[in-house]
């Protein structure tokens, strides 16, 4: 079997990582360059996925299948639909940027760094393309270790605590998911006689509602809720973000958190529709709590990175809100918001990282009046902050707007509370920006700051282009997801045997 495009995109980074193992440790530039080349090649390979993607179809595309452990019903089954397409592209887009951002920041053990980053990329893409529960779980767990190493080796002062906390939190969630996967496998096998981990096959089966379905849903949901992180499972996130190196934070915020929301979309909704509907109100409530709580806590953070980290809790709340509205606008908005958050928050982390490289501090109080010293940096920082707070014309607005439209149809009160999250976002981001960029230069050290270097321009420019593109013409990104989302809603409705919108509005 010749490997298809999706396999190439998935495993090219890992193959590159293995090849880079052979490069001598001292050739740091070669290692960095090689890794960047591999990541860019993976991105280049992933662009045809978008171009050749048939937006009108809700089926999985670029599907590849090969028997892996046929006797156990485990296959290498990969494919993408409108949801995973965007997330794969987001991954291949952000990885080279994260690698480039570490060009100067990571000077210790460069070889290990680039290898770990590329392995991480394969793990993340693998999670998004897997159409077999076993394969998915392999990628899901395997990608924990590179992230753990990334935080623990190149992180800040409290890195070991943060790394171990990250792993333990995520593991507790995912091991329970493993039991649920096995339970689903045997339930499906007992009911239909077909023992398989194949997701499309399992998703076609209508599981009777009841305790088993509820427990399985809860096990899956816990794994994903921790990853998202949904309030109140978010406590690992600020630690992990603050301690992680910039490249790690970008990947963590940009892609890793999306694996949780993706999991809800791909597994919880189609596999356990009854339980998803039953627990929908709870998830909606937690999302809204997360939106408001994340925003409030962000407001009072003295540390830039922690501020951005808590803002993630708030933004991911919007994604979850959109998903569990279970209507077209909410879901499309939720998916788009995943991409938006990846771009905006990734960019925020990049820029905070640039400040940190220059000043070795992330405290808001240590800055002030930066506009006068580094105008280009400050201007870009403003654009990114505005995109994050949802200014019309930039990407964040479109996603949040769609989510709120969806939420309003479900419960106007809920939507109203969620809307305050946008207002608070404006508060914490603009207040932060004001303290960092406006006013007089308060610290003498800040007068000597240098503005953006060509390398930094090069890695920010594509992000800003996308931020504006999505803000002005979101259709390029929503069109591929629409058919998929429609099919997903239909699937949940028919399987649960109810009119979802009707139940939800009641």
């Amino acid at each position: 079997m010749t490997p298809g495009l999706l396999t190439l995109v998935t495993f090219l980074p890992a193959a590159g990582a293995l090849a880079l193992l052979l490069v001598p440790r001292r050739a740091e530039q070669a290692l960095r360059g090689g890794a960047l080349a591999v990541a860019l090649a993976a991105f280049a390979l992933s662009v045809p996925l978008y171009i050749r993607f048939d937006a009108g179809s809700a089926d999985y595309q670029f599907v590849e299948f090969a028997g892996w452990m046929p006797s156990a019903g485990i296959g290498y089954h990969v494919g993408i639909d409108g949801i995973s397409l965007l997330l794969v592209l987001l991954t291949t887009f952000l990885t080279p940027i994260a690698l480039a951002s570490a060009w100067r920041a990571i000077e210790d053990r460069t070889k290990e760094f680039v290898v770990v980053m590329l392995l991480l990329e394969t793990g993340m893409i693998g999670v998004f393309v897997s159409l077999d529960l076993f394969l998915f779980y392999v990628f899901w767990e395997a990608m924990l270790i590179p992230m753990y190493v990334l935080i623990g080796v190149w992180g800040g002062g409290n890195r070991i605590y943060a790394a171990v906390k990250f792993v333990l939190y995520t593991m507790v969630g995912s091991v329970l998911m493993l039991v649920a996967i096995l339970a689903l496998y045997f339930q499906h096998g007992a009911a239909t006689g077909v023992h398989t981990f194949d997701l499309p096959t399992l998703a076609r089966w209508i599981m009777p509602p009841g305790l088993p379905q509820t427990l399985m849903f809860l096990a899956f949901a816990l794994a994903f809720a921790i990853k998202v992180p949904l309030f109140p499972f978010h406590t690992w996130l600020p630690d992990a973000h603050v301690e992680a190196p910039t490249a790690g934070s970008v990947i963590l915020a940009g892609v890793l958190l999306k694996m949780g929301t993706y999991g809800f979309l791909r597994f919880c909704l189609p596999l356990f529709p009854d339980a998803s509907l039953a627990f929908g109100p709870l998830v909606l409530a937690l999302s809204v709590v997360g939106i408001v709580y994340g925003a409030w806590v962000s407001t009072v953070q003295p540390d830039l990175k922690k501020l951005v980290a808590y803002s993630s809790v708030s933004h991911l709340g919007f994604v979850m809100l959109g998903i569990f509205t279970l209507n077209q606008q909410g879901l499309v908005g939720g998916v788009l918001q995943m991409v938006n958050h990846g771009l905006s928050t990734g960019a925020l982390f990049l820029m905070v990282g640039m400040l940190y490289e220059r000043r070795h501090t992330r405290m808001i109080a240590d800055f002030g009046g930066l506009w006068k010293v580094v105008p280009a940096f400050s201007a870009l920082f403003l654009v990114v902050a505005l995109s994050s707070l949802g200014l019309p014309g930039l990407n964040g607005f479109v996603g949040e707007f769609l989510v709120l439209v969806g939420a309003f149809q479900v419960d106007a009160g809920l939507a109203a509370i969620a809307t305050t999250g946008i207002i608070f976002a404006a508060v914490y981001l603009l207040w932060m920006y004001q303290r960092v960029a406006f006013g007089e230069v308060t610290r003498e050290e800040n007068r000597r700051l240098t503005d953006l270097t060509p390398r930094e321009w090069a890695l920010m420019a594509p992000v800003v282009v996308l931020i504006v593109w999505i803000g002005v013409y979101p259709v390029s990104f929503t069109r591929p997801t629409e058919a998929t989302v429609e099919a997903l809603i239909l699937q949940v409705q028919t399987k649960a045997g109810v009119d979802v919108a009707g139940v939800a509005t009641r």
Binding site: M69, V138, E141, Y148, G152, V164, V167, M171, V175
Partner: protein, 484 residues
């Protein structure tokens, strides 16, 4: 009076055991011949014997030899364990060659004892009779008692050997008494006739008590809670290569007998045993994992971790059936490679001339010896159960068997346990990559044979993790005749 017919002697069914015993005897003779100061060649001879036994085993695959009035069977099930035991022994011998020379404990007896112990393990896998089973266990254990006290000058070695011996003998007494009761109740020591007798009268109290005592004896040998007290001290005091052997080979062999007796032989009384084994399994994995968290000595930590792994393997015994039994077989194969590799790395690390056994000794290893640190990381990750390594697939099959048999909560407890286990395994990785050494760093004691052993173990865990299907099928084929 009818003359007593002598049983036909069919040594073919004993071929692997005989090869190993023969090699051991040859070693004892060769030990007396020059060169007297170097013993490396004895290691080579030992290895050759083990490889020969391995090939004999592979050649015998598919047959179903029975000999000595069904006391010995050489079915696929026994052969599977022969492969595991031979691999474990071969890895241990490879690790021992340079390790023993550095420790100044190189001797001919060592190799001979390893081989005698191996022959006991092989015999145990083939045993189809309580008496043969007992003899095999004793042959294996007596050799191991001596081996664990090999470092005569170290106080811990004496403690280890003594403790292992006393508790082991105690366990043997239980075992023997149990065997006597079972014989009294059923009139036979043969597994097949035993099974038939138990099936006819599952509630016979004498037989039940007897089998319970046999189970206690097994519990000691596999170090399941509450019979695990000896394990940490023995693991710590014994030479690391011997520790690896105790952790892998002896466990595999005793599990072979346990499954043959309990899962296959006692199927009619399965419900009676299930609750007991369930509790045993949960207690074993939980105590092992929780206590391991508090250990700073790597060998003690691995002792508790191996207790925990026994708990996982007991899940397969609880679940029973082809899935459960073959799950245990696969897990043992994976566990053997992983554990032998982990201990292998320890034999290759020394700090200031002394074996590095404290977690702190491994600080900074990732910087100083990236390859060794990577190898140890992979072994530890396999113990955690991170895909795509052997340990994950092993757990997957075991937990799958549990869920299939309806023991979902057992699987839930087990997976939560493996999340706990992640903490202490990762602590070693933290030390290697994320901490700087205090004082002189641990150094890699170069050894070609040791490196080869690590390479074999590494290939093993990656192969079992990425391409598990053929090995899982092998395990299935091995238990199929047993459960017919």
């Amino acid at each position: 009076m009818t003359p007593v017919a002598a049983p036909p002697v069919a040594l073919g069914a004993l071929a692997p055991v005989l090869i190993v015993v023969g090699t051991a005897l040859a070693i004892l003779v060769l030990d007396l011949l020059p060169p007297r100061e170097r013993k490396t060649h004895l290691g080579v001879v030992t290895l050759a014997g083990l490889v020969a036994a391995l090939f004999t085993t592979i050649a015998a695959w598919g047959g179903a030899g029975r000999a000595f009035r069904d006391m010995i069977v050489l079915d696929n099930y026994a052969l599977f364990f022969h492969i595991v035991v031979c691999y474990a022994a071969a890895l241990v011998v490879l690790l021992s060659v340079d390790y023993l020379r550095r420790a100044g404990a190189e001797s001919g007896e060592y190799y001979a004892l390893v081989l005698f112990s191996t022959s006991g393990m092989l015999l145990l896998a083939s045993a189809n009779d309580l008496i043969v089973m007992f003899l095999a266990i004793e042959l294996m254990s007596l050799s191991l008692y001596v081996l664990s006290g090999l470092f005569k000058r170290r106080r811990e070695a004496g403690e280890a050997s003594m403790k292992y011996f006393l508790l082991g003998v105690f366990a043997s007494a239980f075992l023997l008494y149990g065997i006597a009761l079972v014989y009294g109740a059923t009139g036979s020591t043969n597994f097949d006739r035993l099974a038939a007798a138990v099936a006819a009268d599952p509630r016979d109290p004498i037989a039940v008590i007897g089998l319970g005592l046999v189970l206690v004896g097994f519990g000691f040998k596999i170090s399941s809670v509450p019979f695990h007290m000896w394990a940490p001290d023995v693991y710590e005091g014994a030479p690391t290569s011997v520790t690896a052997f105790i952790a892998t080979g002896s466990k595999a062999a005793v599990f072979a007998a346990l499954i043959r007796l309990v899962v296959a032989g006692l199927r009619p009384t399965q419900p009676d045993w299930t609750a007991l084994l369930w509790a045993l399994s949960v207690a074993t994995m939980t105590v092992g994992n929780v206590v391991a968290i508090a250990q700073s000595n790597l060998k003690r930590m691995l002792a508790y971790s191996s207790i925990a792994h026994v708990g996982y393997m007991l899940i397969g015994v609880v679940a029973g059936g082809t899935a459960g039994a073959s799950g245990v077989l696969f897990y043992l194969l994976a566990y053997t490679f992983t554990t032998a590799g982990t201990f292998g790395v320890i034999t290759l690390c020394e700090r200031a001339g002394v074996e590095a056994v404290d977690v702190r000794d491994y600080a900074g290893l990732g910087r100083r010896h990236p390859t060794l640190a990577l190898a140890l990381s992979l072994f530890l990750l396999s113990l955690v159960g991170i895909p795509p390594l052997a340990g994950f697939i092993g757990k997957f099959y075991l937990f799958g068997a549990a869920v299939r048999a309806g023991f979902v909560w057992l699987a839930v407890i087990a997976v939560l346990n493996s999340a706990v286990a992640a903490y202490y395994y990762l602590r070693v990785i933290v030390a290697m990559y994320m901490q700087e050494p205090a004082g002189p760093p641990a150094a890699w004691a170069p050894s070609f044979a040791g490196g080869l052993a690590l390479a074999i173990a590494l290939v093993g865990i990656v192969l079992l993790g990425v391409m598990p299907a053929p090995f899982a099928d092998l395990a299935q084929a091995a238990v199929a005749p047993l459960l017919r």
